[in-house]
């Protein structure tokens, strides 16, 4: 892979250049922030082609809305707001609500649950079965719930940060977080009941 030549301009300078008609400068912004946007998109989509579509949409939207960027805040914050909102739109468009059953689990997922049942304190957190199970449970949540759990509990963001990223009020974030946790607990309770774990 060829290493792209580093651009010493600040984000604000690059944005000004793009707005002045130098479209090619936009590539500098893409190169700078695409790893960050990819990591964020991978929280919401499992298939790599879906992740790529999300990232592409984020940058196309960013280019189209570049006029609305105010240089007072860092470009990264502005871009991540767009990324989070695009991921939320993706979740809403791909919403699937199906009953979660134990039989659908992979071997690793069921093994992790069985081990957890036998020795709750000894079950490793870094186990791939746990991560797969988390992905599966998250996939069953509503888009609001999934977004808020991801930002609050997986990315450790504050309520204020989430409010800025999503455009929701702080109290709405709190309400949605409360409901999301309850939804997740209910889902796991049903699962535990059905399997008498």
């Amino acid at each position: 892979m060829t290493e792209p030549s580093p651009d010493s301009r600040t984000d604000a300078e690059v944005v000004r250049a793009v707005l002045a008609g130098d479209t090619n400068s936009f590539e500098t912004l893409v190169l700078r922030y695409q790893p960050r946007v990819f990591a964020s998109a991978r929280r919401y989509a499992r298939r790599e082609d879906e992740v790529e579509d999300i990232v592409q949409e984020v940058f196309l939207k960013a280019f189209g809305k570049l006029e609305t960027f105010r240089s007072e805040a860092p470009f990264e914050h502005w871009l991540m707001r767009l990324a989070v909102r695009t991921c939320y739109d993706f979740l809403r468009a791909h919403q699937r609500r199906r009953e979660l059953t134990f039989t659908e689990f992979t071997r690793e997922e069921s093994d992790w649950l069985e081990r957890y049942n036998a020795e709750p304190d000894q079950t490793p957190e870094s186990d791939s079965g746990a991560r797969e199970l988390l992905q599966r449970v998250m996939g069953q949540l509503t888009p609001d719930a999934r977004l808020v759990i991801t930002l609050l509990e997986l990315e450790d963001r504050s309520v204020r940060e989430i409010a800025k990223l999503t455009g929701w009020s702080e109290s709405l974030v709190k309400v949605r977080a409360f409901r999301a946790r309850r939804q997740m607990r209910k889902m796991l309770q049903v699962l535990l009941k059905s399997e008498r774990l």
């Binding site: 892979m1 479209t23 936009f26 590539e27 893409v30 790893p35 990591a39 964020s40 759990i149």
Partner: protein
């Protein structure tokens, strides 16, 4: 209670390994190519944008003229019937042309 403990454990598992940030090869070229395609459509977008921007002032002007016509000072030379007024306005250029000749 048990569901909450499992929930906490699963979230801890999710936090322990953040998602990868690797980027497919030359992905930025794909974005730039998409932008190039979008730019090809730009003349139409530009035209569309102008039309939308003009729409607001046009509506405002129409409302203003309408308001003036409705509440403004009445035309001193206005006749009693609307038909006669309309006829005068429509034939005004013809009458003026006749006067010139």
């Amino acid at each position: 209670m048990k569901a909450e403990l499992i929930r906490q454990r699963l979230l801890a598992a999710g936090r322990s390994l953040p998602p990868a940030d690797h980027v497919p090869y030359a992905f930025e070229k794909r974005i730039m190519a998409q932008l190039g395609r979008a730019k090809a459509l730009e003349p139409w977008l530009f035209w569309n944008r102008i039309l939308w921007r003009c729409a607001g002032p046009c509506v405002a002007l129409t409302l203003l003229v309408g308001a003036l016509a409705w509440w403004g000072p009445g035309d001193i030379q206005a006749s009693d019937s609307l038909t006669a007024d309309l006829e005068t306005v429509v034939y005004a250029p013809l009458l003026m042309a006749q006067e010139v000749w």
